[in-house]
Structures are given as C-alpha cells and as structure tokens.
C-alpha cells in the first residue's frame, strides 16, 4: 500500500492503495465516483474513459502510481450540471439505450472536440473506435458529436 494524492475534478484527494490499482477502481471504490464504468479491464471497450490532462485515457489500464499530479476529469466533473455541449447534445439526440457505455463515449467525444473542434465523420469514428456500445447507439453518437461541435463553435 502507498499514499497517492490525486487531482480529480478539481479536488485533491489522497488514497492509500496498492500502487498497481487501476485509476478506474480508485475512482469507483475509493473516491465514490462510480460514473466511470468497468467493461473489460484491458483497454478494449472504453467504458472507463476519463481525461488525464485533457486527453482521453482508459482508466482501467492506468495504475494509480502512474498519474503523479496530472489532473483527472471524470464524467461527474465534466460539467457542474450536465451542461457541457457534448452532454447537451446527448440529451438533444436522446442517445442512450441502456446507458452503460455512455459516460465513456461522452468523455472520448469531449476530448476529441477539445483538439478537433470541427470533426469529420472519419475523425469521429477514429476517436470513438475504442468505445464499444453493445446497444448500438453509434449513429446517434455521430450525430450528437456533430451537434456538440456546432453548438460549441457558434
């Protein structure tokens, strides 16, 4: 066990865990942030996507010891009241079915828009190729990402 001070959603929090513990489980079980989901544990499904210094990363494959003082943002911290343009677009397009994958999708999409404000279909597909949606909401995801880009740019 070892102590780590993490910067999550603008707060500093210290946890005492095995250094190999993936950030996913630290968030879910030590910091009471269960919005980030477990789907595969091997970086293949994207359900656990968070931002580390603004970049989309798979938290299941990030040992807590690798984070240092880089800031982490989770779905709970993306916006205060669910008002991020990507979240709003998700509501406008009524994207979710079961909803389990959607936090990961939103985190990947918002990271994409932060560096590619006007993404093409190919950009969207490439950025979200790592996020599985078993319910098959991919078409709505594509449309929602485009609307989010439009509203953020207008």
């Amino acid at each position: 066990m070892a102590k780590f001070t993490l910067h999550v959603n603008g707060n500093e929090q210290t946890v005492d865990v095995d250094p190999a513990t993936p950030v996913l489980w630290v968030l879910r079980e030590h910091l009471d942030l269960p919005g980030t989901k477990y789907g595969c544990g091997i970086g293949q499904c994207g359900a656990c996507t968070v931002h580390v210094e603004g970049a989309a990363m798979r938290s299941c494959s990030l040992p807590v010891s690798s984070i240092g003082d880089r800031p982490i943002t989770t779905i709970e911290g993306l916006s205060e009241h669910g008002t991020h343009p990507v979240q709003q677009a998700w509501l406008d397009h009524d994207v979710p079915q079961c909803g389990y994958c959607q936090a990961g999708q939103i985190m990947s999409a918002s990271a994409l828009l932060s560096h590619t404000p006007d993404p093409s279909d190919a950009d969207i597909d490439a950025a979200l190729q790592g996020n599985l949606c078993r319910c098959g909401t991919y078409l709505r995801i594509r449309s929602a990402v485009k609307s989010a880009a439009r509203s953020a740019n207008s």
Binding site: Y38, C40, T74, H81, W90, N131
Partner: protein, 706 residues
C-alpha cells in the same frame, strides 16, 4: 415538489401541487420502457407530461403483473393495464370534482391536469382534487380514450433517465453500495465439461484486503430447476475482500484443480412438469459441433409440419435448389458484466441489481434457501444491457450464498472474462433449405430441415409455410454441455437470416424481383392459405415490404451500392429492411439501411426508432463478426480483444426507420428489428461480390471479404 402526495393506485400518486408520480413497473435495460410505460398512464390520466415524475416501481407481485423484461412484450402485455390505471385515476378526479361542485359526472371534463365544467365555468387542478380523489371508490368500469384523441402516445418524449445517464449517476447494479459491503468474485471451471475438484485458498486469503475464500454450490444435485435456472457451473470458488482490485489480484493466486464431469442428469420443473435433462460429459470443440450438425442434419429428424406431398413435388420439379446455412454460438456481452448485491441475514434476504426476470428468480431463491417469498426482497436497478442474458438468475443465488457464508453484505461482480466464459449463449445453428420450382419458375415445394447445438431453431408455422402447396419442416438437435439461453429474438435471429437469404436465391432462380417474389407468396398466403396455424398476418407482412420498397426507393439503387432486402415477423411485430452496402478493396461499408416496421400503435416514436437503429447495428455486427468458438471446452474468445464486436467505424452510415400507421394494439420493438438484418446483409453482399454467404459470421476476424 409537493408538500403531500396522495396515492391513487399502484401506478400513480398525485401531489397537492399537481405533480404526478408514475411508477414504471418493468425492469429497464435500454428498451426505454421507463419512459414509454408511464406515457401510457399519463395519456389516459390526461396530464401534462412536463408535470410527470417517473419512478421505478418496486418488484411486487401483489401490485404489478409481469414485471419481466423479455419477449418484446413489456408494452404489449401491459398496454391495457396501464391505460386502465390512468383512466381510473382520471375518473376518480372527475368524480371528486362532481362531488365537490354537486354537478353530474358526465358534464365534467379534463385537459392537461385540470378538471373543468364548461357550463358553470368552474375549474380545478388535479393537485387540489387529489386528496378527495384518493378517497373516491374505485370504479368498476371506466371509459378509455379514443386512440385518435391521443396526445402523448404517438409523440416522441425524451428518455426520463437521460440526464442521470449523461452525468454518471449511480444507476446500475454494479454501482450499488452499502455500508460494510464487501466485494466478491467467483472462479468457475476454465472449460465446459469440467467441474471443481479441490482448491487451496490459503495464498489468496493472505493477500491484502482478502476476507475469505470458500466454495459454494449454486444448485445441489437433485434441485428442481425452473425455466431460467440454467447454469453450467454449479460449484464455484468465491473470493471475498474489501475492494474489487484486491479480489481480482487474490483470484489470480487461487489454486484450484478442476476435473472432467461425467454425464449429468438434472431435474427440471417447468411449471409443474417434471422432466430429466441429460447433460453429456466431454470437452467439446467447434469443429466437432460442425461435424455433428452435418451428421444429424442428414439423419435423425422429427417432422414438425407437412403440407401436400412434398416428396412428389420435389420429384417432378424442373429445378431444385438446396442450400445450407450455419451460425456459431454467440455471447450476450452486456456492457455491464453480471453482478448482484446480496445481504443474507436471519430476518431476510435482501438483494439489489440488474435482473430481467425477478419473479422467476424469486421462486428459485425461495426454493434454494427454503425461504418464504415475503423474506426475499429484490430491488431492481437499471441494467447495463440484457439481451436475454439477465433472465437467468444464477448469479443471484451465487451472491446470496456468498453473503450467507461470508456473513456480510456483498456485491458479486463477474470480470469480463468470467462473464464471457460462463455460458448461457446463443446456440450454434444449422439449416438446410430446399426449393422445388416448376418449368415456369413457380415455387411448388419447400423443405426446411433445421437443428442446432443443443436446440432446434425451427418455427414450422412461420412464413413461407402457408404460401407453398407442398411444404415439409423437420428438426433435430445435438446434446451439449455448453449452456444456452435466450438471446435477442431467440431462434428467429438465425432462422430469419437463413430463410431470407434462401428466398433471395430462389427469387433469382425464378427470375423475379426479390420483393415481388415475396409479395406474390404473401398474396397466396392471404387469399388461399395452405394449411392452418400459419403464424402471421400476410397482409401486415406485405405492408412492411411495400413500405420499405417505397421508402428505400427500391427500384433505384444508388450508384456503386448493392442492396439486399429482408423481411421477418416475430414477437408480434413485422419488419422489412433494405440494406445498401459498398465493398471497397474487400471491405464492406453499410451505407444505408431503410427499415419499415408494423408494431401497431407506436408509443414513443423516437425511442422506437432508437431501438430499431440499435438492433440493426447489432445485426450487422453479428452477421459480419460475431462468434464464440470452442476448443476442448474452452471458449476461444474471453474478452473484447478476441471477441469481435461492431464498433462505430463499422456501423451503418445511415438508418431510416418508418412505421406503418394503424390502430392495432402496440407490440414490441426490442427484438423484431434484429433478425431481418442477417438476411439483408447476406443478400446485399451477394449483389456486391457475386458470392453467396452461407456461414456466419461472414467476416469473423478477417478484415476483408474473399
């Protein structure tokens, strides 16, 4: 929020400020009944949807019927009851106003949460009348709205849970927490056909955070299993500890020995019918399955339907076409792996988590633990997908056993690998179709022979039965120790693809347009059906084909694209699809899918469209990539690195969904749009490549066709 709530009935309560809480009785796994069921109540109640709050109803068989997610039947079987719940409440509100104003009930009308009396100009809100209405005696008969006056049903309403989903609220079973709760995981045999021999948990118990390691027996020998008590591995090793990561680590140092099973006979009690089920020993492989299916298909079959004289028709045919179709096992792969919370105390068994069939599982728990049902409390959380998988509640029994033995509240979590390798799969199937055509290219005989490991997928009375004079349907099956379960449109999800690909080939041999060919058969079935018990309405079937022909502009295939058509009827809903694809350097891209649906009255059109889109994506994915294969009982695919799932880049570029407008009672949307996709993909691929595809998945791990 109101200061006070008044319970009107099990489905709704009204606040003194006019806000209405409507209970959504059925388990929610993405089909969005949490929105559409309350919409039906709100319609008859005549309330403004913006004043409605939706809550998940508790699992309670005394208040609600059929709290079950399956068979695409949530809306179909609850529609009348939900209307009645709303209409009864509306009647009681009107009665309360009539009493207060001393006016005849017949003169009291309602609109958007208000009660009115036109002649006197009096009005009152539901909120002010709620208290009095709660005391009105429940009427024996109430009038329902004319469907033409619907103002909520048939209009798109947003998913009531969307905001919670997109902000990451803890909605799912895996998010469930309780003070003092421990985490549990199980180790099950690595191969079907194996069982627990012995284990040594000493090393695991020494790992940090680990509380206990022990074995559990889900169902002891002789336990009478019900319909949804399927499970392959009944003896498991459980590891209990403080956190998921710690338990995962401890599982890795667990020392377990497994041994082969010999033939097992289990007792099944299917609604009072006791029968024995033999499960063979042995370590099975996909190659062996395929060989056995080939063999069985050629011999021991059972006749399920015979019309006319099929043998004679085939003997005199000018042309006979015979084709065989196969499909592999599939894993459900719900995004949220199996999990459940359990707290077993002397007073009661308390459980919470994702489950499709609580009523069945409650009976199983009662029998397994010898508990009266009143002592079992199952709280239903939102499910991260189900697709049939979560109807099989063995994981609740496991969680309860673990809590009992650990003497603590626990949450059992399956790793993705545990989830993918523990069974309850879509079976592997095989079907041979033969068609007899006369000189003029008319279909005079059809013969279907279908089977699988371990069940037959045949529906003997479905189309084209009833449309062909001489028809023979036979089936067979091969025993297996790999467990299977319902998977989105069970059996239909294979038969549709085989049948619709075959009809495409027959149409071509007959020199006919594939839609015209189907419509001619349906016309025959409508005007002069062959035999009885034809499980479809030929006019509605033809209706979706005609609608998709129009909406896809069938006669004008876009330049460069290749199109395939398919239509199927299952779970009371008719669906036809036209799928356009292009193949570039061996890589298929689905450009567009047009989908026509007849599910009667559409409750929530945009949500129904979402279901159809998802089912189409799911179908394209499974047609092209989905497979679970075995070697010596071990699944070759154990996580998403080798189980290929459709991803965003492979999803269709566009999908348009069209509903037949009618006033038929509503039927389901969860399953019906899924089965036709397989045939549409196969038929479009043929037009693109000149090659017919008989074996699913059409691509598998390969990136390119050919």
């Amino acid at each position: 929020m109101p200061d006070e709530w008044f319970d009107i009935n099990a489905y709704l309560k009204i606040g003194d400020n006019g806000v209405v809480t409507i209970m959504s009785p059925n388990p929610e796994f993405g089909q969005n009944i949490k929105t559409s069921m309350p919409m039906i109540v709100a319609e008859e109640l005549d309330v403004d949807w913006n004043n409605v709050i939706v809550e998940q109803a508790p699992f309670d068989t005394t208040k609600y019927t059929r709290q079950f997610a399956g068979g695409s039947a949530s809306i179909r079987s609850s529609y009348d009851g939900l209307r009645l719940a709303g209409a009864t409440a509306r009647h009681m509100l009107r009665q309360a106003a009539a009493d207060a104003w001393q006016l005849p009930l017949a003169e009291i009308t309602t609109a958007a949460g208000m009660v009115h009396h036109a002649a006197s100009g009096q009005s009152a809100s539901y909120g002010t009348l709620a208290s009095a209405a709660a005391g009105v005696s429940v009427p024996e008969e109430v009038e329902l709205k004319n469907v033409r006056d619907f103002g909520i049903i048939g209009t798109s309403r947003k998913n009531v849970e969307a905001k919670n989903i997109i902000t990451g609220k803890p909605l799912f079973g895996i998010d469930y927490r309780r003070d003092g709760m421990l985490i549990a995981m199980i180790a099950h045999p690595p191969a079907f056909g194996m069982k627990l021999k012995s284990f040594d948990g000493a090393a695991a118990e020494k790992m940090p955070g680990i509380n206990k390691v022990f074995s559990i027996e889900t169902f002891p020998r002789g336990f009478e299993k019900g319909l949804f008590d399927t499970v392959s591995f009944t003896e498991l090793v459980a590891v209990v500890g403080e956190t998921t990561w710690q338990v995962m680590q401890a599982k890795q140092v667990l020392e377990v020995e497994w041994e082969p099973i010999t033939d097992v006979v289990e007792t099944m009690n299917i609604f009072g019918n006791i029968r024995e089920n033999r499960i063979p020993g042995g370590l099975e492989s996909t190659e062996e399955h395929e060989r056995r299916m080939e063999q069985e298909s050629g011999s021991g079959t059972r006749v399920s339907r015979r019309d006319g004289d099929p043998e004679a028709a085939f003997a005199r045919a000018a042309q006979v076409i015979e084709r065989t179709y196969t499909a592999p096992f599939l894993a459900h792969n719900c995004m949220e792996p199996m999990n459940f919370f359990a707290h077993f105390t002397d007073e009661k068994l308390e459980m919470a988590g994702p489950l499709q069939a609580p009523e069945f599982t409650e009976s199983t728990l009662a029998a397994r633990f010898d508990l009266p049902k009143e002592k079992i409390d199952i709280h239903l959380t939102r499910m991260g997908g189900g697709f049939g998988r979560r109807a099989y509640g063995h994981y609740l029994v496991e969680a309860a056993l673990i809590s009992q033995q650990a003497q603590a509240p626990i949450k059992l979590i399956y790793t993705r690998e545990d989830d993918m390798t523990c069974g309850i799969y879509r079976p592997s199937y095989h079907a041979t179709y033969r068609a007899a055509l006369d000189e003029a290219g008319k279909l005079i005989g059809l013969h279907v022979k279908a089977g699988g490991v371990p069940e037959s997928p045949l529906f003997a009375n479905r189309f084209p039965a009833g449309a062909v004079d001489h028809y023979l349907a036979e089936e067979w099956s091969v025993d297996s120790n790999i467990s299977i379960g319902a998977f989105r449109a069970p059996r239909s999800n294979f038969m549709s693809g085989a049948e619709q690909a075959f009809l495409d080939e027959v149409a071509e041999a007959a020199g006919k347009d594939p839609i015209d060919f189907r419509l001619e058969l349906l016309q025959r079935a409508r005007e002069n059906p062959v035999g009885e018990n034809n499980d479809y309405d030929a006019a509605r079937y033809a209706g979706v084909l005609e609608l998709v022909r129009e909406k896809s502009d069938w006669d004008n295939t876009p330049a460069g694209a290749s199109r395939g058509v398919s239509a199927y009827f299952c779970h009371n809903t008719y669906v036809a699809q036209v799928l356009d694809l292009t193949v570039t350097d061996g890589k298929p891209t689905v450009d567009r899918v047009s989908c026509a649906v007849d599910c009667g009255i559409v409750i929530n059109p945009d949500a129904a469209t979402n279901m159809a889109e998802g089912a189409i994506v799911d179908g394209v994915g499974n047609a092209l990539y989905g497979q679970l294969t075995f070697r010596d009982g071990v699944p070759d695919q154990q996580n998403f690195d080798d189980y290929r799932m459709i991803r965003i880049g492979e999803a269709p570029r566009s999908i348009d969904v069209h509903f037949v407008r009618n006033e038929e009672s509503p039927t389901g949307m969860g399953e019906p749009p899924f089965p036709p996709v397989f045939g549409a993909v196969a038929n479009a691929l043929y037009r693109a490549t000149g090659e017919r595809h008989y074996r699913q998945p059409f691509l598998g791990e390969r990136e390119l066709l050919g």
